[in-house]
């Protein structure tokens, strides 16, 4: 193959650098590049960009604590455990739709008095969350639950008065990496407490966020948590770091919501 013009060569430069062109095209490219300084310069610059970006990302190493847990997992494999016990695998052992659908979840609620600077006792809050979670995951999903008016309609309900939640997305975990887009909402009932699940598109999947009014949780504990404070929560076997941010306590654990994704986006 003979390339007569630079405009024929330029679109193929990256594939050429990737060594992904067939032999004939590669030969034609090599011939053009050997006689065309501008294209050669362009190729070298593109390679520098590619190398630079790649190196910047390859510099990331596994955090020590993650490595230690991985070591423990590998040790347990040697011991012959068919299913090693892992703190982060608990959700996969949950039953029913919750295991498939509710995989990334945040619990939020209003704080009526966030003025105090003392941290709330995590263990008592954990118990409240754990109880709420156990009831919540037992609920079956219903496509008809999707709120027709979207987030604005949901938040207009009196029981959500004062809830400060941005319609374009919510503040995820401190280290979250991806753009977040609001998709929809549906009512949720946790025990006697009415709440709402909100769905956000993140990482190409749907994230469920369960929001409960603080009236369903111990006020004496909630009111002790200052803005920005963090606490370790555990509910339904899930461990997470929660943070008080903008009037919400948000705790995020992992997993994606397959069922909700189908319900809301289809």
């Amino acid at each position: 193959m003979t390339f007569r013009t630079c405009s024929e060569v330029r679109p193929l430069l990256m594939a050429y650098l990737d060594s992904e062109l067939d032999a004939t095209t590669t030969l034609g490219m090599s011939e053009h590049l050997s006689s065309c300084a501008p294209c050669r310069t362009r190729m070298e610059a593109e390679q520098s960009i590619e190398n630079g970006v790649g190196q910047a990302l390859r510099a990331e190493r596994m955090p020590r604590d993650v490595g230690q847990r991985l070591d423990a997992l590998q040790d347990s494999l040697r011991a012959g455990a068919s299913r090693p016990d892992r703190s982060r695998s608990l959700l996969t052992r949950a039953s029913g739709w919750a295991a498939a659908a509710l995989v990334l979840m945040a619990l939020g609620f209003w704080l009526r008095d966030a003025g105090s600077r003392d941290a709330a006792p995590a263990s008592a809050l954990n118990a409240a969350f754990a109880s709420a979670y156990q009831e919540y995951v037992a609920l079956p999903p219903r496509a008809s639950d999707v709120a027709p008016g979207g987030l604005a309609a949901v938040l207009a309900q009196p029981r959500f008065a004062g809830l400060s939640l941005p319609a374009s997305g919510f503040a995820g975990p401190a280290d979250h990496q991806h753009p977040i887009r609001y998709l929809g909402a549906r009512p949720a009932v946790v025990g006697a407490v009415e709440g709402v699940t909100l769905a956000y598109d993140c990482c190409g999947s749907v994230t469920s966020v369960l929001v409960l009014p603080a009236s369903g949780l111990p006020q004496e504990l909630v009111s002790q948590l200052p803005e920005g404070a963090t606490l370790d929560l555990e509910w339904g076997g899930l461990k997470t770091r929660a943070v008080h941010r903008g009037g919400l306590i948000i705790g995020v654990s992992s997993r994606h919501s397959v069922v909700l994704a189908d319900e809301i986006t289809s």
């Binding site: 390859r58 190493r61 982060r88 695998s89 990334l104 990496q177 990482c203 999947s205 992992s254």
Partner: protein, 195 residues
């Protein structure tokens, strides 16, 4: 698995020895494709468990790296049907230069003048630009440009046609170069003269 290795402890040692040099790369990939560190760790641990269970059928002499990345990709995709659909969606492969918008061409020319210096100045923002790529494009880009997989290996790992691999990769690269061009436009990046 090596048929000569029959004792369970040897089998385990072989698995761990093969896995050791790949752990950081697997972590990076899981982390860039996950919501947070916790979900990345979940995916990685799940993938390692699957790899261990299937180690009997791993073919000696083939790439353990490609094999484990394939398992990790599947783990991520199995938990994420929407990403699987987006990944498989056929998009037209543009026969265009990476940055062709007229208003950005001048800025991109500046990028190409001294890309190393620019990248050194941009620093962590490049990582942010990669994070902001659409997930399907990000996944393919990470496998090719960061971990160095061939198109064919990516196609096999993600179970998508080669043409789809190429189009996702093209788009990812184009977006990153647009990001660099915009950076130059906004900051007025000036080459530092070399002595």
């Amino acid at each position: 698995m090596n048929p000569d290795v029959t004792r369970p402890e040897d089998r385990h040692a072989e698995f761990c020895a093969l896995l050791a040099p790949e752990r950081d790369a697997l972590w990076r990939f899981a982390r860039r494709m996950s919501w947070d560190a916790s979900s990345a760790e979940d995916a990685l641990q799940d993938a390692i468990l699957v790899a261990w269970r299937k180690f009997d059928v791993f073919t000696p002499g083939t790439s353990f790296r490609a094999w484990t990345f394939r398992i990790l990709s599947n783990t991520i995709l199995n938990a994420n049907n929407q990403l699987r659909r987006n990944l498989a969606r056929q998009v037209l492969s543009e026969n265009l230069d990476l940055v062709s918008a007229l208003e950005k061409e001048d800025a991109y020319d500046k990028v190409l003048e001294d890309p190393e210096a620019l990248l050194a100045q941009v620093g962590d923002e490049v990582r942010g630009a990669v994070k902001s790529l659409p997930p399907a494009e990000r996944m393919v880009f990470l496998l090719r440009s960061v971990e160095g997989f061939a198109y064919k290996e990516i196609s096999a790992a993600l179970e998508i046609p080669m043409g789809t691999v190429m189009s996702h990769l093209f788009r990812a690269r184009a977006r990153l170069r647009e990001f660099l061009a915009e950076y130059v436009q906004q900051t007025g990046f000036v080459r530092t003269p070399t002595s």
